[in-house]
Symmetry: C2
Subunit: 212 residues, 2 copies
């Protein structure tokens, strides 16, 4: 009886986040319009109307899923910002660590960048919501730090307005297109070895003035 209750309560409280996990995978694979609420529910053995019970709408499910994932990102990586208390060298080292952590995150959660590119291909309320709540702060934080690292002779000669997309593209397309590399080389880019190689290359290329 106690066991039965515990099992039921666990299922009830967990269903919302299990739906979110499934939603991230389906939205990442097929985009918002291409992913069906039926397939999301089926993914975890639930029924389609349960989505409309736990969320207001498909769009509410999508927003809840992305808020969760961006929260996880900021916990694991943080945001690139200027710290005036430390030298340019130390700032660059901290930034390099963040690039490494971000690449690691992108490899383990390819859903984030996949959903981002699905949405960014056309204007609309979902893209505006993403930019306003999550992309904007990241973009705004990076620009002055990059300018400082350029003045210090550490950062590559990329315009501060363009560095966000150049760096994001260079670091994440590999994992976003992991299925493609699998077909091309039979390689799993999310293996530790390739993640580390990729991070080494990106840091050396974008921060060529960083001391080894």
């Amino acid at each position: 009886m106690a066991h039965e209750q515990r099992r039921i309560r666990r299922t009830q409280t967990d269903l919302r986040e299990r739906l979110i996990e499934a939603a991230l995978i389906e939205f990442a694979a097929h985009g918002f319009e291409g992913a069906s609420t039926r397939s999301i529910a089926n993914y975890i053995g639930a029924h389609q109307p349960q989505i409309n019970y736990h969320f207001d709408s498909k769009e509410d499910l999508w927003k809840s899923s992305l808020a969760d994932l961006f929260d996880l990102l900021s916990k694991e990586v943080g945001r690139a910002v200027i710290n005036d208390d430390v030298s340019d060298e130390v700032s660059a080292e901290k930034f390099a660590d963040q690039i490494r952590a971000f690449i690691d995150f992108a490899a383990r959660h390819p859903e984030l960048n996949r959903i981002m590119v699905h949405e960014s291909t056309s204007p609309g309320p979902r893209l505006e919501w993403l930019v306003e709540n999550f992309v904007g702060p990241l973009y705004t934080g990076l620009k002055p730090l990059w300018e400082r690292l350029q003045r210090a002779g550490i950062a590559a000669p990329i315009h501060p307005v363009l560095i966000h997309h150049a760096l994001m593209g260079a670091t994440t397309l590999l994992f976003l297109n992991a299925h493609e590399l699998e077909l091309l080389e039979g390689i799993d880019a999310t293996k530790r070895t390739w993640i580390d190689r990729h991070a080494d290359g990106m840091i050396a290329t974008f921060l060529p003035g960083l001391r080894k």
Copy 2:
């Protein structure tokens, strides 16, 4: 009468390629599953069944559209390959020109990279078709050239297996996400000034050993 016939013939022969132009825009904006054949036909003032008259299916329309666009790409940019008759320096300069031409193409035809990322987020027959026919040859051509330029001390320290996605991501995400930058900075990245700045930065960053 002659005018009438000419008008009709023009419409007939042009409709197929006008449908392809509309299809590229709609597939790029919403993905294969998210784009509807109705909206594609409406885009040029045609009716939905005309697509099934001029093409076998939605998938046939998609393939025809991408074959057209990749043909245009190879005409304008070509493919990065080793030429043993010229020095490392000259090879690097030619490769830099190709990067510049590719960035220009990506800015003027964002549909290509948008469709690529839509498809690469999940395995399937369309991705396999793209890799087999178009991405594979580009990937295979770049790798040995990159190795040569690294031995010559010109190319950045990025692993040859990873350079394709690093370079593609760095160069194209800016235009793929042009709507995002528009929201972030109010900037049109497809303006000549930004295209050139971007190309300068990418060449200097990925080929730091290239003489100015």
